[in-house]
């Protein structure tokens, strides 16, 4: 599956099938700091992702003040 990441913007290829929480763990990303979007839909950590899925992992942290 194609996984789009930010900070910096890049795309990585990850082999499926795989649950969202397994994908985040594999990429060493903390659940609390990210949303996972499949196509246009937000998905929960137990959602199964397959080869061919378009995935965006969006960071949610902001602010410098």
């Amino acid at each position: 599956m194609q996984v789009q990441l930010s900070h910096p913007a890049r795309t990585v290829e990850v082999k499926g099938p795989k649950k969202v929480k397994e994908l985040l763990r594999e990429l060493n990303l903390v659940v609390e700091a990210h949303l996972v979007i499949k196509g246009d839909d937000l998905v929960t950590e137990d959602e199964m992702l397959y080869d061919g899925d378009q995935i965006e992992i969006r960071p949610v942290i902001s602010g410098g003040d």
Binding site: V30, E32, L35, I37, L42, P59, V60, G64, D65
Partner: protein, 312 residues
């Protein structure tokens, strides 16, 4: 994972509440948390005029959206900081939301452009006065926000600070034992002296992840990129640490910040204490009349320096 309330397919799990929600029930949860914050902290009523500070980010646009949907009379102020493409993109996001959503509620978007007044963007200004960019940005935004609120007779100004922002700030203050800042960490700060508007943070019960989810689910187009000036900031480091703790032990952030608020409320009536302290040290700036501890406020000093150094 199914929605805790209606049992249909969930779109988000909330470990700190031991719950999961579908889109409809999640929107209900978010609106309910904001309504609870407004009521419990006596932030404002339906008759009040509210000014929201919007940046183009998820929190402030979500706040504007939520307050309008809850039926509050809410306008917004955007401060264009002049950070190249980042400011252009964030300005475009705010304008898009104002036109597509806020206008139908009769809401107005105010605009302040730093470069128009100072002759330079935030980065150049910070270099000029030898202060960190985030601190300079904070001074400008607080000043302009207060100015517009006072000049345009808003009853209260609201910011998009969320649970993560407040927990991270508290962690920073505690790590450095900056006890003098703790009085101002509450989600509702009174208009302590003439010239200061009341300030509230209606999102303090919601996490950054929950607000990002609200924006995504409600198709609020916000700027995902981090502000280039904030890279490596202490606040981001504190948030990262807290999120690692939260993932291992859900509820850590709310226990930390809400627990602090509970202890503060039992200690002393915070509003009175802060008001008394402010009245003792603040007086009108000789240049602009906004309250300050010095003869001339830090904003006017900054503008004076900018006008003498920056070629117009």
């Amino acid at each position: 994972m199914n929605c805790t309330k209606c049992k249909t397919k969930a779109v988000i799990g909330l470990p700190r509440h031991n719950a999961a929600f579908c889109k409809g029930c999640f929107n209900g949860f978010v609106h309910d948390q904001v309504a609870r914050a407004i009521k419990s902290e006596k932030m404002f009523g339906k008759e009040d005029r509210i000014l929201v500070a919007v940046s183009g980010g998820k929190d402030s646009l979500a706040l504007w959206d939520i307050l309008l949907k809850l039926g509050y009379r809410t306008d917004a102020l955007y401060v264009n900081l002049g950070i190249g493409a980042y400011s252009e993109q964030s300005h475009a996001k705010v304008t898009k939301f104002a036109d597509a959503v806020a206008a139908s509620h009769g809401a107005t978007l105010h605009l302040h452009t730093v470069e128009q007044e100072a002759g330079a963007g935030i980065k150049e200004l910070a270099q000029l006065i030898h202060r960190p960019t985030c601190s300079t940005c904070g001074t400008i935004k607080r000043y302009q926000f207060n100015r517009v609120a006072i000049e345009q007779d808003y009853d209260v100004m609201a910011t998009g600070h969320n649970l993560d922002d407040e927990a991270a700030r508290l962690l920073g203050n505690v790590l450095h034992w900056q006890e003098e800042y703790l009085d101002k960490q509450g989600p509702s700060l009174p208009a302590s002296v003439e010239g200061f508007a009341k300030k509230v943070k209606p999102l303090y019960r919601l996490s950054e992840r929950e607000l990002a989810a609200y924006a995504v689910l409600n198709r609020i187009d916000y700027i995902v990129e981090e502000c280039p000036m904030a890279k490596g900031s202490k606040m981001l480091q504190y948030k990262e640490v807290l999120n690692r703790l939260e993932t291992e032990s859900p509820g850590t952030k709310q226990t930390f910040y809400w627990g602090f608020l509970e202890k503060q409320s039992k200690k002393q009536p915070t509003a009175t204490t802060m008001t008394e302290k402010d009245r003792a040290v603040l007086h009108p700036c000789t240049s602009c009349s906004q309250p300050t501890t010095a003869e001339v406020c830090s904003y006017c000093k900054m503008m004076l320096r900018a006008k003498t150094v920056v070629p117009r």
